[in-house]
C-alpha cells in the first residue's frame, strides 16, 4: 500500500479534527476542576430508598451555597462539586444530614484558588520542558532536526485533539480537566513520540542518511509498512488495559483512563499517518530551496 501517496487523506482527517478542537476550545473552553480553579468536592453515601441526583438538587438548592455539579458515582453514592471552601462543604453536609438519616462522608476535598493557579503554571512548564527535551533527543538521535520537529508536530496534534475532545466532553457531559488530565497529556506526548521514534528508526535503518536518498517516498513508505502492524498491535494491548480501567475502574479514574485512551489512539495514528508524511513534505520543501 502506498501510504505516502495517499497522505492527503490523513491530512484532511487531521485538519478537520484540529479545526473542530480549536473551535471547541475557543467556543466552549475547558472546565477546570478544583485542582486548578479551587473549590470543594464532597462525596457522600446516602442510605435512603428514594434518592437520586434530582432529589439531591432539590435539597441542596435550599442551602445558600452554589453547587456546580452533582454526579451519581455508585449505588447511593454521590459526588457534589461546590464553589467555595471548607465552610461551604460543611454547610452542605449538615443540610443533608438534617434531611436524611444516614449520610456518610466518603471523601472531601478543598483547594484554595491561588493554589490551583500555581499548579496550572507548573503543569504547563512541565509540558514545555518535556517537549523541549524530546525535541532535542530525537533531533540528536537522528542527526537531523527535521525528525525532531516532525515528531513534535505530530505530538502537538495529538495533544490539541485530546484537549479538544475534553472541551467537547466538558460542554456536553460536564467532564472537568484536573491534574490527572495534565498527566494524561504528558503520557500521550511520550506515547506518541514512542511510536514515532520506532517508525523513524526503520527509516534510519534503511538509509544511513535520509536526506541523501533519491526516492524518499519509497523509503518512508517501506518504514510505514514495516511498522504499522507493530504500532497497531502495541496500541491494542494498551487499549485493552485502558478499556478495562474505563469500564471497571470506577468514577475516580474513569476520565483519566479515557484521556489516556484517546491519547494512545491518536499517538498511534499520528506516528504513522502524520509524522512520516510530514518528514517527506519537510524534506521535499528543503530540497526545493
Amino acid at each position: 500500500m502506498n501510504f505516502i501517496k495517499h497522505r492527503y487523506i490523513s491530512f484532511i482527517i487531521s485538519g478537520l479534527l484540529v479545526a473542530v478542537s480549536v473551535f471547541s476550545l475557543i467556543r466552549f473552553g475547558l472546565i477546570p476542576s478544583l485542582d486548578f480553579a479551587g473549590g470543594s468536592l464532597l462525596e457522600i453515601k446516602i442510605d435512603d430508598s428514594d434518592i437520586s441526583t434530582q432529589r439531591l438538587w432539590e435539597v441542596v438548592e435550599k442551602i445558600d451555597v452554589s453547587i456546580s455539579q452533582i454526579q451519581e458515582t455508585g449505588s447511593g453514592t454521590f459526588l457534589i462539586r461546590i464553589e467555595g471552601g471548607k465552610e461551604k462543604g460543611d454547610l452542605i453536609l449538615s443540610g443533608l444530614q438534617e434531611k436524611y438519616q444516614k449520610v456518610e462522608k466518603l471523601r472531601f476535598e478543598t483547594v484554595g484558588p491561588t493554589f490551583g493557579q500555581e499548579l496550572l503554571k507548573k503543569a504547563l512548564t512541565a509540558l514545555a520542558v518535556a517537549i523541549l527535551f524530546i525535541l532535542f533527543f530525537v533531533a540528536w538521535r537522528f542527526h537531523d532536526k527535521k525528525f525532531g520537529i516532525c515528531a513534535i508536530l505530530a505530538m502537538l496534534h495529538d495533544n490539541l485533539i485530546l484537549a479538544g475532545s475534553f472541551s467537547l466532553l466538558g460542554h456536553f457531559s460536564g467532564v472537568q480537566v484536573d491534574s490527572l488530565f495534565i498527566t494524561a497529556a504528558l503520557t500521550t506526548l511520550s506515547a506518541s513520540v514512542h511510536d514515532t521514534v520506532v517508525t523513524f528508526d526503520y527509516i534510519r535503518k534503511q538509509t544511513g542518511d535520509f536526506s541523501s536518498q533519491k526516492n524518499i517516498e519509497a523509503v518512508a513508505n517501506k518504514a510505514i509498512s514495516d511498522t504499522i502492524v507493530r504500532n497497531i498491535n502495541n496500541s491494542m494491548t494498551i487499549i485493552f488495559m485502558l478499556v478495562a480501567v474505563l469500564l471497571l475502574g470506577g468514577e475516580t479514574i474513569r476520565w483519566f483512563a479515557a484521556a489516556l485512551l484517546i491519547g494512545t489512539i491518536l499517538g498511534t495514528y499520528s506516528s504513522t499517518f502524520l509524522a512520516v508524511p510530514f518528514l517527506v513534505v519537510a524534506e521535499k520543501m528543503g530540497r526545493k530551496k
Partner: protein, 432 residues
C-alpha cells in the same frame, strides 16, 4: 552469564522469589535468621491516603510581616511545632513536610486513617503560644507553674551553640530589649528555682536559673544531643515568631471508599491482562505464550519492587502500572514482527530469532528513553519548584517509569532466554 541455561535458572529463581513475596499472607512469611542477621520475608504493600483512607492537608503560613531572614527560621520551627502537635494527638504515622513555593511557605500534613479531621485541622491551625512560667511554690517544682509576663513576643530568636568546656550543645536565647528587662527581673527573683518554658500550654523545658541575667542573652544547658537541641531551638523559634497558618488544600478519603477503589482497579487490571494475553497468543501463537510468561514475570518483579523499595501505591500509581502492562509487551511485539520479516526473507528460524532480538534493540531503547524523560519530568525527583509536585502525578510517574525499565529487562532478556531454552529443543516452525 553468556550461557542461556544459567540465565534461565537465574530467571526461574528470581521469579520464584518474587512469587513467594507476593503470595497472600495466609502462606507463612517467617523472619529468617542467618548468621545473626534477621531477614524478614514479609513486605506488605503500602497504600497512599487515597486508597488506605486519610487526610492530606496543605497549610499556608502567613509570613507577610516577616523579613527573609526570619522566614528561614520560621520554616523549621513551624514544622517541628506542628509535628509535635500531631504526635501528641496520637498520630504517630503522621507526616509533616515544609515546602517553599516562591515566596510562599507551606506545610503539608498527611494524616492516615484519622477519624475526626476537623478537630485535627483546628489543632494544627492554632498559632503557637510560648510563655515562661515560674514555680507556684518556691520549694516545690511539682506543685505547678504560674504564668509570667514574659512570652514568645519577648523572645527575639533561639539558636544552638557549643559549651566550650564540655563541648555539649546548648540552646541560646536572645531576648528583645523589652524582654531582656523582664527576663532580668524574673531571673533575679527566681535564683535556684525553675523558670519553665511552655509551648501551647505544654511544657517544653524546665531550666533552672543559676544567676541573674541582665544582658538579655541566656543559654540553656542540659543533656542535649545535637538533634534534640536543634529541635528545641526550632520549637522556641516557632513560639518567638508566631505565624498563623491557613488551610489551602484538603483531601480526605474514607477507608471504605479507598478499599472499594483498590478492589475495582485490581479487577480492571486482571481483566485487561487477560485480554492482552489472549491477544498475544491468538496473534503470535507460541511466541505469544513466551511473551505472556515474561509479562507475568514482569508483574511479579514490579510488585516485589513496590514491596521492597517500598513504593506507596496511589490510585494514579495503579493506573500507571496498568498502563505499563500494556506497554510491557511492546518490546516483544516489535521483536516478533522483526522476526517474521526475517523469516519472510527466507532466513532460518534460529538466525531470524537472534537477528530480531539484536536489531530491535535500537528502536526499543530510543523509544523508551522518551517515556523515561516524561516520567522523570512528572516525578520531579529533585523537587524543582517549577514542576508539579502533586503526589498523585508523582505516583503515576513512578510506577510508569519503573515499569518501563523493568519491561526492558523482561521484554528482552527474559523473553529471549525463555525462547532460547524452552523452544530451542523442537525444530518445528513455530511462528504462527
Amino acid at each position: 552469564m553468556k550461557n542461556p541455561k544459567n540465565l534461565f535458572i537465574f530467571i526461574v529463581v528470581l521469579s520464584l522469589f518474587c512469587l513467594y513475596l507476593n503470595l497472600p499472607s495466609i502462606i507463612p512469611h517467617p523472619t529468617i535468621s542467618f548468621l545473626g542477621i534477621s531477614i524478614p520475608t514479609k513486605f506488605p504493600l503500602s497504600y497512599g491516603l487515597d486508597l488506605a483512607g486519610g487526610s492530606h492537608l496543605v497549610f499556608k503560613a502567613d509570613t507577610q510581616s516577616l523579613s527573609n531572614k526570619e522566614r528561614e527560621k520560621v520554616i523549621e520551627g513551624l514544622r517541628e511545632n506542628i509535628q509535635r502537635r500531631v504526635d501528641m494527638y496520637g498520630l504517630s504515622e503522621a507526616l509533616v513536610q515544609a515546602s517553599k513555593s516562591g515566596e510562599d511557605l507551606r506545610l503539608i500534613v498527611e494524616l492516615p486513617g484519622v477519624k475526626d479531621v476537623d478537630e485535627a485541622i483546628t489543632l494544627i491551625g492554632q498559632t503557637a503560644v510560648l510563655d515562661f512560667r515560674q514555680q507556684k511554690e518556691a520549694t516545690d517544682a511539682a506543685a505547678g507553674f504560674l504564668s509570667t509576663d514574659l512570652t514568645g513576643a519577648d523572645l527575639q530568636s533561639a539558636g544552638i551553640n557549643f559549651d566550650p568546656d564540655t563541648n555539649q550543645p546548648v540552646i541560646t536565647l536572645d531576648f528583645t530589649s523589652e524582654g531582656g528587662k523582664k527576663f532580668a527581673r524574673l531571673t533575679e527573683e527566681n535564683i535556684g528555682k525553675i523558670l519553665a518554658i511552655f509551648l501551647d500550654e505544654i511544657p517544653l523545658s524546665f531550666p533552672k536559673v543559676e544567676e541573674p541575667i541582665k544582658e538579655g542573652k541566656a543559654i540553656i544547658r542540659g543533656d542535649f544531643t545535637l538533634e534534640g537541641a536543634k529541635k528545641m531551638a526550632a520549637q522556641l523559634n516557632a513560639g518567638a515568631l508566631p505565624v498563623a497558618v491557613n488551610l489551602i488544600e484538603q483531601r480526605t478519603v474514607e477507608a471504605t471508599l479507598g478499599q472499594e477503589t483498590v478492589r475495582r482497579s485490581f479487577q480492571a487490571g486482571l481483566v485487561g491482562l487477560f485480554c492482552v494475553m489472549l491477544f498475544m497468543v491468538a496473534y503470535y501463537g507460541k511466541l505469544g505464550f513466551f511473551a505472556n510468561l515474561s509479562l507475568i514475570i514482569y508483574g511479579l518483579i514490579s510488585f516485589t519492587l513496590y514491596r521492597l523499595i517500598p513504593i506507596t501505591l496511589t490510585l494514579p500509581g495503579i493506573a500507571g502500572f496498568i498502563l505499563s502492562v500494556g506497554m510491557a509487551v511492546d518490546a516483544n511485539i516489535l521483536i516478533f514482527e522483526r522476526m517474521r520479516e526475517e523469516l519472510r526473507l527466507g532466513k532460518e528460524r534460529s538466525v531470524a530469532q537472534e537477528l530480531a532480538f539484536g536489531r530491535a534493540w535500537d528502536s526499543i531503547r530510543d523509544a523508551n528513553i522518551c517515556t523515561i524523560i516524561t516520567a522523570f519530568v512528572l516525578f520531579n525527583p529533585f523537587e524543582w519548584s517549577f514542576f508539579p509536585m502533586a503526589g498523585m502525578v508523582r505516583g503515576f510517574a513512578l510506577t510508569l517509569g519503573l515499569g518501563v525499565m523493568i519491561s526492558l529487562f523482561t521484554g528482552i532478556v527474559v523473553t529471549r532466554t525463555l525462547i532460547r531454552v524452552l523452544a530451542g529443543k523442537n525444530k518445528q516452525n513455530f511462528h504462527s
